[in-house]
Symmetry: C2
Subunit: 305 residues, 2 copies
DNA sequence: CTGTTAGCGCATTCAA
DNA sequence: TTGAATGCGCTAACAG
């Protein structure tokens, strides 16, 4: 009959508020926004609510401020959906190991003490590189994300693994650091080719950079996939409509988000019955999606009319 | 000395919690994710925190549930960053007019009683259409978003205004409904050309659909911009790297988000001193960004080698 | 099993 | 100015 209980009093007496803190980054990218969408859905399903913080820099002071805000709010769990960057991640991890509130990380390197839900980026790196080799490309360059990101390092490690096995020399000339933006893919392609003109394929660490790398190639008079093979990473919904349609590594960020929330919920529930769960890492597997940008022998519909 | 006040007790005594509720939709799109990013930043700046709800359907029951959850949480303000859809928006607006909590809408039609922060979508529609006419295109089709969206209706109205003024007949044959996805742009282009083969330019209501419309055109053997001019909407960061680079309507979703939070804050502060602000609407202006996809006489670098 | 009561930890009021 | 008391509206422990 129009009566609603007072949350404030309820929170005070129960000593909890059913809020889960989520920290995110870079919502303009496919992975981040998909992860957040799924996290929100799952959190609602489990009758929590969600407080969101977005990070734009990676300095420990900002990270620390957000962490303490969340603890002050007395959230019941924290999902750290921010890229793991060398500059702060170990510091954060050790800080977190000393607090009570359960924390689950998305896309962070595995350790003894952290709960993590991550994509197997290194496998992704292997998949794309192997595919290009099988298509007959001889010298495969690599445009990375920022090198201080764990995800970048893993994708690069996957590429390196295959390329070393194939006996490549002077591997350093084949690598160029990007920053995920389309702009950096264009610049990156030019620099990479200047560095090592024999390159006949480029594995690009996300689809946005792959898009602009393809444009830059065309402008240099290189035909894709005949003169230059391109593979991207992510499989954003637009990738199939690029020119030419982009071969890429598909990841399912939804799986990462769902696993993270389930984990947090499990930790909270277990703690309710007095037991502490063991830290662990759940991996999500990427897959190869083959389209025209990497198929040398293709009778592509759009090629050269 | 390691002492932290208890938020629960603090909330209880003050009767408030400094939380602002944000409802969002479709974070995988440029506008939505940019708006949310800015909202989060501003909210933090003003020492509020943010609870996020994401909607995936538009039925009043889900909308109502979220609204009541937020009221039960006792949020101090609500930002409705969800598209205004015929099916629920009037119902919501009247519901909202009866609650105390201040609500600001993003991208909703103006009314007497609502606080709104909106892009002038109709102006955007005029800009793109006028540009295509000035470039000499004779019969300009239009691929819309879902027709029950306010934003769609406005963009369409802008196009219609110009096209009617130019004396077009059989306007219905020139319009095709899309759903914002790249997939629907492809389908849309085929259907549109089947409906009215004399079309020589298409204004597409977002950049994702414009991308796939360009691919579909190429596959039909139509050269862009010579056989078919294309203009998109949004100016996503990748649009400059499409093939060919996409002429589009630039919007600044950051402006919308910032205005909304400032408005909420102003309402809350005013109410603290006993005054109620007058509902109003703040408009954000879109702009035309000309690239190659609409320049018929262009000596395009990438055309036909 | 139902009804009563004692805090939860602060902010605010009141007395000193 | 400072210090002690009251109550915010529930939940949980307790007594009936």
């Amino acid at each position: 009959m129009g009566y609603a209980p007072n949350v404030f009093a309820n929170n005070l007496t129960r000593g909890q508020n059913n809020i889960i803190g989520v920290i995110g980054y870079g919502l303009n990218y496919f992975g981040s926004s998909s992860v957040l969408t799924v996290i929100e859905g799952k959190i609602n399903e489990l009758d929590f609510s969600l407080t969101l913080n977005l990070i734009d820099k990676f300095d420990p002071s900002q990270v620390e401020a957000i962490l303490y805000d969340l603890l002050a709010l007395r959230v019941e769990g924290i999902i750290w959906a921010v890229p793991a960057i060398d500059q702060y991640i170990d510091w954060l991890s050790s800080k977190v190991s000393r607090i009570q509130t359960p924390v689950v990380y998305i896309n962070k390197g595995p350790t003894e003490s952290d709960f993590v839900s991550a994509l197997d980026n290194q496998l992704g790196g292997r998949l794309g590189t192997t595919h290009l080799m099988q298509e007959g490309y001889q010298r495969i360059g690599f445009i990375t994300g920022p090198l201080n990101w764990w995800e970048t390092q893993q994708r690069l490690a996957g590429w390196r693994e295959i390329v070393v096995k194939a006996g490549y020399a002077n591997i350093e000339d084949l690598v160029l650091e990007g920053d995920w933006t389309a702009r950096s893919g264009e610049v990156g392609l030019h620099t990479l080719l200047a560095q090592e003109p024999r390159i006949d394929a480029v594995f690009v660490s996300n689809d946005q950079m792959a898009l602009s790398a393809m444009q830059a190639s065309r402008r240099l008079g290189l035909r894709i996939p005949d003169d230059l093979g391109i593979v991207g990473f992510d499989d954003i919904p637009e990738a199939a409509y690029f020119y030419p349609p982009l071969t890429t590594i598909r990841q399912d960020p939804r799986e990462l988000g769902a696993m993270a929330v389930e984990r947090i919920d499990a930790i909270i529930n277990a703690r309710g019955t007095g037991v502490d769960l063991e830290p662990n890492i759940s991996w999500s597997q990427p897959g190869l999606v083959v389209r025209e940008s990497s198929l040398r022998e293709s009778e592509s519909v759009n090629e050269t009319k």
